[in-house]
Symmetry: C2
Subunit: 481 residues, 2 copies
């Protein structure tokens, strides 16, 4: 009996045969990154029922020297969940919402709970869990934590890292750290939870968490604004931040090309403004204050911005149905790009004061590099975070275009790095940016990361080859097509 | 020449003689915790001028095997800055504000800058740096970071940890990690800054940071509320949070005994309410919205709370001068306790829903333990954080009372621990709670902390004996009197 078949027998004995999947058709969905950029391999997919079973699996794998990749909804965008041999540990059965406490404003949930379920559980208690992502119906809280997910709620409420109070984590040797604190203030030693948040399953496996809730906004107002340039978008953002403070709950940027392709491929969505503009912003104000008038506040602020010349045109919705339509324009932007052929994608951030400089410089550089290239640079403008995506020129071979991924990475990432920005703003490193991290990361910082990895996972069993690859034979990092 | 005199010569050569202090009178202020609970010893106090000099000092000490304790304003409350041999590294000369960027809403400051100077630099640009502490005129940003300082701004803006975007840190071997990021979103590998924030100088020496700024509130309203019990305080807090959301910027709790001793020892401060109440809350709403009416909002919210029976009496200030007077009542509370004899202090937190349970149980247990004991439990109620202080019975020997420190620790900390709380909410561990951390901490979590310490400071040179003591001969942890 080999070490691996012995391991699988032990796991089947504890978890039950039906929770140790080995048939190729059963495990296939767990091997592939959903956009098809990477396809990995695994001995088995195991589905423990609770924290104790996760601890058992990890301890057994540690004993056998077999690697483990934790998976939630497998909706990641950087190949972080792709296995390269070893075991896929699916957290899907750890899906309980253990407690909702509206008074403490906390919710305690297991790693496999869907983001949408957590939002709904909070909502049922009159509270808000503010993380919001296009994949919220299929991504899991464990994945959100492991990747420090971002999305459209970050401007007012922060990243996933900012929404977590406590964690329960299975360590590389199978021990369980019980850090399920519901405290707003705790300085009892080093902050361990921040080590695991955003570590993409390479330092430990998160099994449960205590998350922050907020009072649910009682009213919101959504507007769609036509702008002449990234620079006027920045001026508008600054004016709205001054006017609204924490009530400014979204500021999303959409270039003209982005709106054009959404309207082309989603004909049911109404065109928000009659004329064309170089750029657009979707802005939202919302508030919990009973007597507040979000609509009136947004009207006053946008009227002032038109007066000051920042804004060419604007519309404010009169109904929640219209609000949802405007949000659909933004939310469809990622999907419709794939209908325009190949896309080369970057997920970058810069200090807010540089965001117009960045857009101007990077768009000019990429357009100069390849005639006919269509830049679709959009996203979380107020966080300094742009999804700097490139649609292939019309008529070009898709595969030939995608072979240029590295070339455009260099152009865009050099500009970002020169402005003190990040090449991995919200999607993480995974496989796809592992070599870019080595290229641009501070060498002392990279050494610290490797030391942390060695201290917490000395045998490199947790998601090996990701973030800071220490495997002797790491999986390849370039996207496949 | 001994190793230590050789080291001091090298340091004097690089820093200049006058920045390597060895005369007993020069170094004395750096050896003592300001409340006199601990007195340490040191070979010298060195005062580097910049990050390069800090790196030189640390590398030279590492080579000589000599320990280093970093000090800012030396205003800590847990003995974390007390040296036990080795070198005190004072960051006072690294006091530059390197940059203020109102558009990115960031400020870049060196570790030795005073908190009050940083607040003023932000204010001069129309921005707010929200950390607020009684010691803000003498504490430094480096110390605030090293201890993850809290204070009265936490409710709306978070702890120091939540206010930092990037750090520059000198590691135990003298290398410099340049993590001075000004980004709101960055998932490029493990989050290193959170390792150092709150680590009390045991993992690295913070030399500079990029901090978040916020739009400056344009109006605020402050109220003082008379309450019948901790439980009605909790009901009031929940009602105000629902009504005001992020506009609720302070909710501080003061027991009747606390108000009594402030008014006794600070006769210039006016009595805010005519009658006596079991407890009081100082509440503040503030906002950046130009047309907002913080005063009107607070009036409506408090009127509803009186209607609902949560509140016995309330006053709302009509002027900023009155606002400052009310805040003085709260800010004088720590100081006046020392005029009532010895105090045994606890800095604890519980999940918010348990805070009334905690106060009821801990007050009853302590009063039962010692007749005449005067409980002064006050503080950041809205964060679940109470400074649970005990004033000695009138007429008791102070020294005899303070000998009971461990006995009351056990009573209070057992109750806190049983409610899922923390024995070190905002002041940290340092020396004074090192043994309590071992007693109450999760064993797996403590092992993780020790592994982090070993990974980042393998020779135990940075502030040895603090937090997780790994020195063979750690300094004593009990307070002296």
């Amino acid at each position: 009996m080999t070490a691996s078949s012995d391991l699988l027998s032990r796991l089947a004995e504890r978890l039950g045969e039906k929770h140790v999947l080995t048939a190729p058709t059963d495990i296939a969905p767990h091997l592939v990154e959903w956009r098809g950029l990477f396809r990995g391999s695994a001995l088995a997919v195991v589905r423990p029922a609770d924290t104790d079973e996760v601890a058992f699996v990890v301890a057994a794998c540690a004993e056998a020297g077999i690697a483990i990749v934790a998976q939630g909804g497998n909706t990641g965008l950087v190949g972080g969940g792709v296995p390269w041999g070893g075991i896929v540990l699916s957290l899907g059965r750890l899906s309980r919402i253990r407690a909702v406490d509206p008074l403490s404003a906390t919710i305690t949930v297991e790693a496999g709970a869907l983001l949408a379920e957590v939002q709904a559980a909070a909502d049922a208690q009159g509270m808000l869990f503010p993380l919001s992502l296009p994949s919220e119906g299929s991504c899991t809280i464990g994945g959100n934590l492991a990747t420090n997910a971002g999305g459209t709620g970050v401007l007012a409420y922060g990243n996933m890292r900012d929404l977590v109070l406590g964690l329960e984590v299975v360590l590389a040797d199978g021990r369980v750290w019980n850090g399920l604190s519901a405290l707003r203030k705790d300085n009892a030693g080093y902050d361990l939870k921040h080590l695991f948040v955003g570590s993409e399953g390479t330092l430990g496996i998160i099994t449960a968490s205590v998350l922050k809730l907020y009072p649910k906004p009682s009213s919101r107002a959504v507007g769609f604004v036509g702008l002449s340039s990234p620079r006027t978008a920045l001026a508008l953002f600054e004016a709205l931040r001054r006017a609204a403070g924490h009530d400014l709950t979204a500021f999303e940027y959409i270039p003209r090309y982005g709106l054009d392709i959404v309207l082309r491929h989603r004909p049911a969505l109404p065109r928000p403004l009659t004329g064309d503009h170089a750029a657009y912003a979707l802005v939202e104000m919302s508030t919990t204050r009973p007597g507040a008038d979000a609509l009136g506040d947004l009207e006053v602020a946008l009227a002032a911005a038109i007066e000051n010349g920042f804004v060419e045109d604007a519309v404010i919705c009169a109904s929640e149905a219209q609000n949802l339509n405007l949000w659909s324009l933004r939310e469809n932007l990622s999907d419709v790009q794939s209908l325009e052929g190949g896309s080369i994608k970057h997920d970058v951030s810069v200090p807010l004061a540089r965001i117009a400089d960045f857009l101007d410089a990077a768009i000019a550089a990429c357009e100069a590099e390849m005639p006919g290239l269509r830049v679709c640079a959009f996203g979380h403008f107020g966080d300094g975070n742009i999804h700097f995506n490139l649609s292939q020129p019309v008529g070009m071979e898709k595969a030939a275009f995608l072979k240029q991924w590295g070339r455009f990475n260099r152009i865009v990432h050099d500009i970002v790095h020169g402005m003190g920005g990040s090449i991995a703003a919200e999607h993480g490193i995974g496989l796809i940016k592992r070599d870019e991290l080595v290229r641009y990361g501070d060498p002392v910082g990279l050494d610290l990361m490797r030391r942390l990895k060695a201290a917490l996972d000395p045998h490199d069993l947790l998601n090996p080859g990701k973030i800071v690859a220490s495997s002797p034979n790491p999986p390849p990092a370039l996207p496949r097509e």
